[in-house]
Subunit: 320 residues, 2 copies
């Protein structure tokens, strides 16, 4: 009997799902906008029908063993299978996701945090292929991460481990959404870049980006900062340099604590790679420990939007 | 046939070894001063004779399977079994410890970093007994650490992982011996406390500790700062408060990254527990993530000087 994996990436903007073979080929995939208009529970129920429909159509006529893996944003209590304060799905705090899926879908189902799914996907088929010890970082609206130790995702006591975005890097740094200060996330995320550009413009002499109207500035996005950097805007370049320097500090901690073979960096903000990575690597070279720093390769993610599907499928493959 | 473990703690000041049962009772132990006068290799050869002698005497007449575990200060390349820049044994950089022991002692032999041995000892018989996910920190001349993930020490790609003392906590902080800046070690070690008290005295108005002679101040030890704190010296109390606040930041990172059940803190500087732990816990409560921070218990080590012997014995027990 053939085995198929269904990898599902539950994002705040889009839902993606793919039928994946046990050796990691995506046979078929679909994507549709996330509809949160009727709340989180309705969204989850909709998701279940979509998965069932997708499985039916995707495996028509083939007798097969099917497993489902689902990657969801936000911390998951992995012992109980319960969502903890998911950032895009606030009304699903405390939602018993594992139990819900087991009831609704009569298939073996794995759940995983989205950043962990990204990390597993990159380790299975992407930039960290073949590594037993590596870290994944997603630079998006926030900063997520996953850590693989001896081939397994580091979950910790309750599945809340691997919060790479909330390493404290600067005791006097800006407040972070997590309640801490100076976390990696306040420097290396899309919203961190927005904050830094606004601060820089306030201090600057009016060059480059600052020619936007006041209204335009209020709404500036990290993508626009990236575009400005591509045009050589000095303020934007400075912001990415600062971002790279803090990202570098975060990498130092990962290198010293985990002695990884690779650190894979993805997420939409990583498109600005050339504007921050040199600075980040320089900080790693200056500050990480000898031995560890020679070993690690810092690389860009490789699977694009498929990392989440692949990683969720991989979590299902590894279900015991 | 009975099984015995020989746990050996190779310290810069003292050598300790114990005969340990598979359930973690120390049947017999000895301790003698480390003699480095004839260099590292001579010390290692002396150690081997001591171990052989100790095994002979300790198991006389009993047919038994014996395994040896050795904890050594400093990073160890665990793939190759080679010492990397051991702080107390500088001439043993690159020494092929595993091979050397296998040749000299015809017994199964495990090697482990001393901070990892401490951590394993505390997990086997001490303050983290029964935990699958925990961290150990030793506050000594430097700051060492070990991290246990799902029951196993986190070694990383080459055995250089777990360098808790070299998490970067303050980008503008003092230079650290590792080449970084503002590492946990520059705040929470004996030498960090020495540095902080000297800086504080320079800035202070001449109260308390500053009544020592200039000569006395130059030689001040972290123990003397501890004694001064016990007598209510304000400058000493401030230093331990600052130390606690940075230790707290380090704990925040461990809590967010590892979601541990416990963090066990030992080492000679931890004798000053009451002068820094409240501040450290306050920082964890303010800055670590909800979920993780509720789970973790921060506790004092329990095995005293035996942790190293026990942990090394445990590493031998778990040899495959």
């Amino acid at each position: 009997m053939e085995q198929y994996l269904v990898g599902v990436d539950v994002g705040g903007t889009n839902m993606r799902m793919g039928i994946v073979t046990p050796d990691g080929r995506i046979l078929k995939k679909i994507q549709y906008p996330t509809d949160m208009s009727r709340g989180g529970l309705a969204m989850m129920e909709g998701l279940v029908s979509r998965i069932q429909d997708f499985v039916r159509k995707g495996t028509r006529g083939v007798r097969s063993e099917i497993r489902v893996g689902i990657g969801v944003a936000g911390p998951i209590d992995m012992r109980r299978g319960v969502l903890i304060a998911p950032p895009n799905l606030p009304d699903l705090h405390g939602f018993p996701l594992r139990e819900f899926l087991q009831e609704k879908i009569s298939l073996s189902t794995a759940i995983e945090n989205d950043a962990n799914a990204f990390t597993l996907g990159e380790g299975w088929k992407g930039a960290a292929r073949g590594c037993l010890h590596y870290c994944g970082i997603t630079l998006g609206t926030g900063v997520g991460g996953g850590i693989v130790v001896a081939g397994n995702i580091l979950h910790g006591a309750e599945g809340l481990g691997g919060e790479v975005g909330h390493m404290a890097l600067n005791p006097e740094g800006p407040l972070c959404g997590c309640g801490g200060r100076g976390c990696l996330e306040v420097y290396a995320s899309g919203s961190g870049i927005r904050r830094m550009i606004l601060e820089a413009i306030e201090k600057s002499d009016g060059k480059g980006i600052v020619h936007k109207s006041k209204e335009g500035l209020r709404k500036i996005t990290s993508e626009e900062v990236f575009e400005a950097a591509q045009k050589g805007d000095e303020t934007a370049l400075k912001v990415f340099n600062e971002m790279g320097s803090y990202l570098g500090l975060g990498l130092v901690n990962l290198v010293n604590l985990f002695n990884p073979e690779k650190i894979v960096i993805g997420g939409k903000v990583s498109r600005a790679w050339n504007f921050f990575i040199e600075k980040a690597k320089e900080v790693v070279w200056q500050r990480a420990m000898k031995g560890q720093r020679e070993k690690v390769e810092i690389v860009q993610a490789d699977c694009g939007d498929d990392a989440g599907i692949l990683g969720a499928a991989y979590a299902a493959l590894k279900l015991e």
